[in-house]
């Protein structure tokens, strides 16, 4: 009995330790973001509380000088278009592959399968040239096209779902004279709602957090997304930890709100997306 109690205590201790390891670095940054410039310059320790816990000046500085408003706008635009496109493209692909028999079907499937193994980071050297020749460099369309065109995970998620929709529904509609497009629009797409929710969440988080593609394809100051705008804090604010911290908190906050609101869907989405 005592051995059990010891084991239980150790388990809880390990969980508390892990919680500290996760939350401490984040908590310190929140504290730092509320300090004044004089406080950080005077060497206020990482774990000391700010003199005025309601000092939001740094947030104003970060938001205005850091171009965060433009960044959130650009991110929102890219997010909406690319997530919408991903949903359409993924569901269309899944519908075509699952509901039709056609020549080269196996080849098409293989193309999508192999593409899933290629890490996007490695091919950017050559992708860059293609994006450039299409005239998309330094426009918002470069990341949108890349996010839409290289998302194999969402195709998997839709495919699993299309399979579970009984074929008899299609057949009944076809007897009523519906063609393939009507079936896709009126039957398949509405029934895909749970899969669409999953794809929107997983893809949305990935696009919101992506750094490399916007960094590479949108160097212009006014085309900053949240990742690249935050990254630009590094130069002018390099010693101003209070401003950098405020910028980081501004970027993390929406993620935290979405996570707390949609916890259940997020867990399911990632589990389903990864173990394909």
């Amino acid at each position: 009995m005592t051995r059990r109690a010891v084991a239980r205590t150790l388990v809880y201790l390990s969980l508390i330790a892990a919680t500290l390891v996760v939350l401490l670095p984040l908590g310190v940054v929140v504290l730092t973001s509320l300090k004044t410039e004089n406080e950080t310059a005077a060497g206020s320790g990482a774990l000391t509380f700010p003199d005025d816990p309601l000092n939001f000046d740094n947030y104003v500085t970060a938001f205005q000088d850091g171009g965060m408003l433009t960044a959130f706008g650009n991110t929102a635009f890219i997010l909406l278009v690319s997530v919408g496109g991903t949903v359409l493209i993924g569901s269309m692909t899944a519908y075509a592959i699952d509901r039709f028999t056609f020549r080269f079907r196996k080849l098409v499937i293989a193309l999508f399968l192999v593409a899933a193994l290629v890490p996007g980071v490695t091919t950017q050297v050559a992708t860059f040239q293609i994006v450039h020749s299409l005239g998309m460099f330094d426009t918002r369309w470069a990341p949108i096209a890349l996010y839409m065109g290289t998302d194999i995970v969402s195709i998997y998620i839709f495919l699993q779902f299309v399979r579970s929709i009984p074929i008899s529904l299609d057949e009944a509609a076809r007897l009523d004279g519906a063609n393939a497009f009507t079936i896709y629009r009126k039957i398949i797409f509405p029934l895909l709602k749970p899969a669409i929710a999953t794809v929107v969440i997983v893809k949305g988080i990935a696009v919101y957090n992506d750094f490399y593609i916007p960094f590479l394809y949108m160097p212009s100051q006014d085309l900053g997304v949240i990742s690249t705008s935050l990254f630009r804090f590094k130069g002018p604010y390099s010693a101003h930890w209070e401003t950098i911290s405020a910028g980081a908190v501004l970027v993390i906050l929406p993620t935290l709100i979405v996570f707390l609101a949609l916890q259940k869907y997020i867990y399911n989405g990632f589990t389903r997306g990864a173990t394909r």
Binding site: V11, S14, L15, A18, V21, V22, P25, L26, V28, V29, G43, A46, L47, I89, M92, A96, D98, T101, R105, K106, L111, F112, L113, A115, L117, V118, P119, V121, T122, T123, V125, A126, F128, Q129, I130, A145, G149, T150, Y156, Q160, I167, I205, N209, Y212, S227, T228, L230, F231, V251, T255, F259, Q263, I266, Y267, N268, F270, T271, A274, T275, R276
Partner: protein, 324 residues
């Protein structure tokens, strides 16, 4: 929704669908379909696949083909001139000490992945049993994997700086270090690999947790009746039950270690010996205009990752869901 469970019947439906489509339409129209309708039916799937395939070929396959082609040239990515140089770029990658050493940096990230997988497995196991505040702990462990990489980079730059979070915490325990954590190659790489554990542990943990929870409860009950303790339950029920997810995670970790980029690039920019393979490739291509050499490097990385995946497929017979 778990995979193994829902897939088998659904797959049957798919197969049936393939056979049912022609026969169903045959039943609907007793006379043979006119020619135009047949062409139309052959075209339909391609109309749906038009946009997806165009994007896939433009942004995945064309770059791969071009990349392989560039890798045999000395192209700088801008000038109209390029010369065919044979396998020279490849020879350079494997013989130039300064180019090859980035592979050793991957070692730090590989070691970190091992720690990460073991820790994720431990937390997933204990949180699959009844624990107080279970959802809170689950959320805390998972949250870092949703956070923006640039924000994480800044959080940890402050964490590791002189007199930053880490030094302050160590000071509480009476250990006053005045070392610059990101100052020497070994220490900097260990620190960066540590950040990647902090960032990705939650993702592995949630995958394992999902797999463990899809193991039928009777198995545990049977094991408990046989007098198996927690350790035996883990060893003989959980481990075999999550083997597919475990092997998938190992593969993803290996390719992730080789293509580590974001955290080191944001935090140190590859300074003080923290340059990874991908940082080097990006610098070769976009700073030094050595498109040929960078392409060769990217091809090497791609081949390694495909090889690792292939080895995994050979070692673990395909128990994953395939598309067809």
């Amino acid at each position: 929704m778990t995979h193994a469970g829902t897939h088998t019947p659904a797959r049957g439906v798919g197969k049936a669908a393939a056979e049912a489509v022609p026969s169903a339409s045959g039943r609907a129209a007793p006379s043979p379909a006119p020619r135009r309708e047949r062409t139309w039916r052959l075209l339909t799937p391609w109309l749906f696949l038009l946009a997806p395939l165009a994007l896939l070929i433009t942004f995945t396959y064309a770059p791969i083909v071009n990349m392989v082609a560039y890798s045999f040239t000395d192209w700088d990515g801008v000038s109209p001139e390029l010369h065919y140089t044979g396998a020279e770029n490849y020879a350079e990658i494997f013989t130039r000490e300064d180019l090859f050493q980035v592979f050793w940096v991957s070692g730090y990230y590989l070691a970190a992945s091992v720690i990460q997988i073991v820790a994720a497995l431990y937390f997933a196991t204990i949180l699959s049993f009844s624990i107080r505040f279970r959802n809170f702990f689950k959320g805390v462990l998972f949250f870092p994997s949703l956070v923006n990489g640039v924000a994480i980079g800044f959080v940890f730059l402050y964490f590791f700086q002189d007199g930053g979070t880490l030094d302050t915490v160590l000071g509480l325990f009476g250990h006053h270090s005045d070392r610059a954590w990101l100052g020497t190659p070994a220490s900097a790489n260990v620190s960066l690999a540590g950040v990647s554990i902090w960032r990705y542990l939650g993702m592995n943990f949630v995958l394992f947790l999902g797999a463990i929870q899809s193991i039928p409860g009777e198995l545990y009950e049977a094991a408990e009746l046989d007098g198996a303790g927690r350790w035996h339950q883990f060893r003989y029920v959980i481990l075999p039950g999550i083997k597919p997810v475990l092997t998938l995670t190992v593969i993803l970790s290996v390719s992730g270690s080789l293509s580590a980029f974001e955290i080191p690039y944001i935090m140190t920019g590859g300074a003080t010996g923290t340059e990874t393979f991908v940082i080097q490739t990006v610098k070769l291509a976009f700073q030094f205009n050595k498109t040929g050499l960078a392409s060769a490097a990217a091809v090497v990385l791609l081949l390694i990752i495909l090889l690792v995946t292939w080895v995994q497929r050979r070692l673990v017979p395909d128990d994953r869901v395939d598309l067809v």
